[in-house]
């Protein structure tokens, strides 16, 4: 019997290197939305620490590290990136599998901040938006999530169906930044 083949959201469109900036698709592994039930935030955070080694993130923050990260994703919501969620978490939060719901792009390089300054209406400069900081905002017209994952590196998430637009918007901004020299 035939098998189903998996496709990534940005397959064929990335990586892209323009000027000092590179955009490439990131395989985040399992993505799970964690939505703590009423009054269970602390318990969830404890369970998360016990199972995966990171606290439930405060607003605009990410916890954990490469391979097992939790990024705040909105009101009463975080995304667990990497591990298969421990079933014990279900006691404290609504869990939903989002592994296929997001296009994830890593934007990296000296001009990455300048590229995002053309797309995101939030101050993402290093002095205010440090490693471990995250925002829910918009990327051009798309709702998205932007996290600083390195000195010059960002993780950008938008809905999977808009992957082509994300690549288009990033490419346009990267070209404009590169053309300024």
């Amino acid at each position: 019997m035939a098998e189903l083949r998996a496709n990534s959201p940005c397959a064929g469109a990335l990586p892209l290197v323009i000027g000092s900036v590179m955009a490439r698709e990131e395989d985040l592994g399992v993505i799970t939305a964690l939505l703590p039930y009423r009054g269970r935030e602390t318990a969830l955070s404890e369970a998360l620490k016990a199972a995966h080694g990171m606290a439930f993130p405060a607003p605009n923050r990410a916890t954990g590290k490469v391979g097992a990260r939790a990024i705040w994703a909105g009101r009463d919501q975080a995304l667990l990136l990497g591990p298969v969620p421990d079933p014990a978490l279900c006691e404290h939060a609504a869990l939903s599998d989002q592994s296929d719901g997001w296009a994830a792009v890593r934007l990296e390089g000296a001009g990455a901040e300048a590229v995002l300054a053309r797309l995101v209406p939030v101050d993402l400069r290093a002095q205010v938006f440090k490693r471990g900081h995250t925002v829910r905002s918009q990327v051009q017209h798309m709702a998205g999530s932007i996290t600083r994952v390195g000195e010059r590196a960002f993780l950008i998430l938008v809905f999977r169906s808009m992957a082509a637009t994300l690549v288009h918007d990033l490419k346009t901004a990267m070209e404009a930044v590169a053309a300024r020299g």
Binding site: N60, G74, R75, Q77, P121, R136
Partner: protein, 87 residues
């Protein structure tokens, strides 16, 4: 215009969806009567001055906010999460 979301911080107006008067949070009981329901759904103040309205942080954290602001100066006086505003 910028609104300081209690969760996300100060953000550009483009991230928000505007709904209208915060009165929408004060839903009458089903048997409150025609007048109460009519007031709730259709009757709105149009103040020159302080107003309370509802904004949804659509391209942000997804929180519904009660924004108290001045229609004359455009000053934003206070922003609260809608759940808190209803208390």
């Amino acid at each position: 215009m910028r609104i300081t979301c209690p969760l996300c911080g100060a953000r550009d107006r483009r991230e928000f969806y505007y709904r209208g008067a915060a009165l929408a949070l004060e839903r009458p009981a089903p048997d409150a009567g025609e007048q109460a329901w009519d007031d709730y759904l259709f009757l709105r103040e149009n103040p020159a001055g302080e107003t309370r309205d509802l904004w949804y942080h659509a391209n942000g954290c997804g929180a519904w906010l009660v924004v108290r602001r001045d229609t004359r100066s455009h000053a934003v006086l206070e922003v609260r999460l809608a759940g808190e505003g209803a208390q």
